[in-house]
């Protein structure tokens, strides 16, 4: 061909085109877009999931802390109860000692210091034994007469009373810290 001018040529498309080309493309595009739109629903659920997870973490932390504090409180209470129990025992021991010191039998029974000490040391063994001893002692103390006690105390010399008092203090401490 000697002469050819592009501008004079008809501009047309010569490729084969499938049937319903654009309908099919539009349908595929819309399906894809609608499938994509479902993604935010997932995102929404993810948001809830994250919120739930955070709430769960805080919840667990709170419960854990609360339990720890409760256990701590209970521990404190127990130790307080124990100390109270100890105090009671010591009080009882003191009472025992006092009872021993002040116990007077109707028939002018002579109280020996050593015997009192025996009672006190016996308390250190077991609580049950303590109770028994205390009961026995309490029984011995019954029916005291104030006048008789005064007379009885008067029968001691000052040095004897001092020695008795020092021993009883030591016994109380021993009972407290054992």
């Amino acid at each position: 061909m000697k002469e050819f001018n592009l501008d004079n040529l008809e501009r047309k498309n010569i490729y084969k085109v499938p049937d319903n080309l654009f309908e099919n493309i539009q349908e595929r595009v819309m399906n894809d877009v609608k499938a994509d739109k479902r993604v935010p629903i997932f995102k929404l659920y993810w948001g809830y999931a994250v919120a739930a997870a955070v709430a769960l973490i805080f919840g667990i932390t709170f419960v854990f802390n609360w339990q720890t504090e409760t256990t701590k409180d209970m521990g404190d209470q127990e130790s307080y109860a124990q100390s109270k129990e100890v105090k009671t025992e010591s009080e009882m021991a003191y009472e025992t000692l006092k009872a021993d010191l002040t116990s007077v039998e109707k028939n002018n029974q002579i109280v020996e210091i050593q015997r009192d000490e025996k009672y006190i040391y016996a308390q250190d063994n077991t609580a049950k034994e303590d109770k028994k001893i205390i009961k026995e002692t309490v029984n011995a103390v019954s029916k005291q007469d104030e006048t008789q006690m005064n007379e009885y105390l008067d029968s001691f010399t000052n040095s004897e009373i001092a020695e008795l008092a020092s021993n009883s203090t030591q016994d109380v401490y021993l009972d407290l810290y054992n």
Binding site: M1, F4, L9, N13, K16, L21, F22, I25, V29, V33
Partner: protein, 183 residues
């Protein structure tokens, strides 16, 4: 009734009417974009996939569209990029010793209608023998009659370069047709 670009944009920018807007956009531009892609890619199935991907990307990225630019320019840009990506994939799949333009000319022969004129087939073969940039400029100017300023926005080239490329492309095509036309 033909819907205007402003209406399509308004529909696309509203989340409630976005799908309706996409329908309107496809109705308005599917033919032009399809033929733009088809001339680059030639293969029918691949061109359909590419057009589909173009619309999906336009829908997904419509928030990036700037209202001061032309809608068709933006759509052409997406379509051109998608088509070039497909061509690059094809090139990677080709044998290293095979001439790319020869491969494309075979594709033209397989895809043209039976009653296509020889000179039209020659024109398509001539276009496929051009370098990538010249091919793009020629097709957008010759078939779609796009202004150089708009082509410049689509392919990121200066107007001067585009004019030069179009001039060389036209010259090469005319020579090709002269040499190969048998009647």
């Amino acid at each position: 009734m033909k819907i205007k670009d402003a209406e399509i944009i308004a529909l696309m920018q509203n989340p409630r009417t976005q799908e309706k807007g996409l329908r309107a956009l496809m109705d308005a531009y599917q033919s032009r974009l399809y033929w733009h892609i088809r001339r680059i890619i030639v293969d029918s199935d691949l061109a359909q996939d590419t057009l589909q991907e173009t619309f999906i990307k336009a829908y997904q990225n419509f928030h990036q569209f700037k209202s001061d630019s032309q809608l068709y320019t933006w759509l052409y840009r997406i379509a051109t990029n998608e088509a070039l990506q497909q061509i690059n994939k094809l090139k990677k799949m080709q044998k290293t010793d095979e001439d790319p333009s020869y491969y494309m000319q075979n594709l033209v022969a397989d895809n043209v209608e039976r009653d296509a004129e020889e000179i039209q087939i020659l024109l398509q073969n001539a276009i496929q023998s051009l370098p990538e940039k010249q091919k793009l400029v020629f097709m957008m100017r010759y078939y779609d009659d796009l202004p150089y300023e708009e082509i410049s926005k689509i392919v990121d080239m200066s107007v001067g370069t585009l004019k030069t490329n179009y001039h060389y492309a036209k010259q090469k095509i005319e020579e090709y047709v002269k040499e190969n036309y048998e009647r």
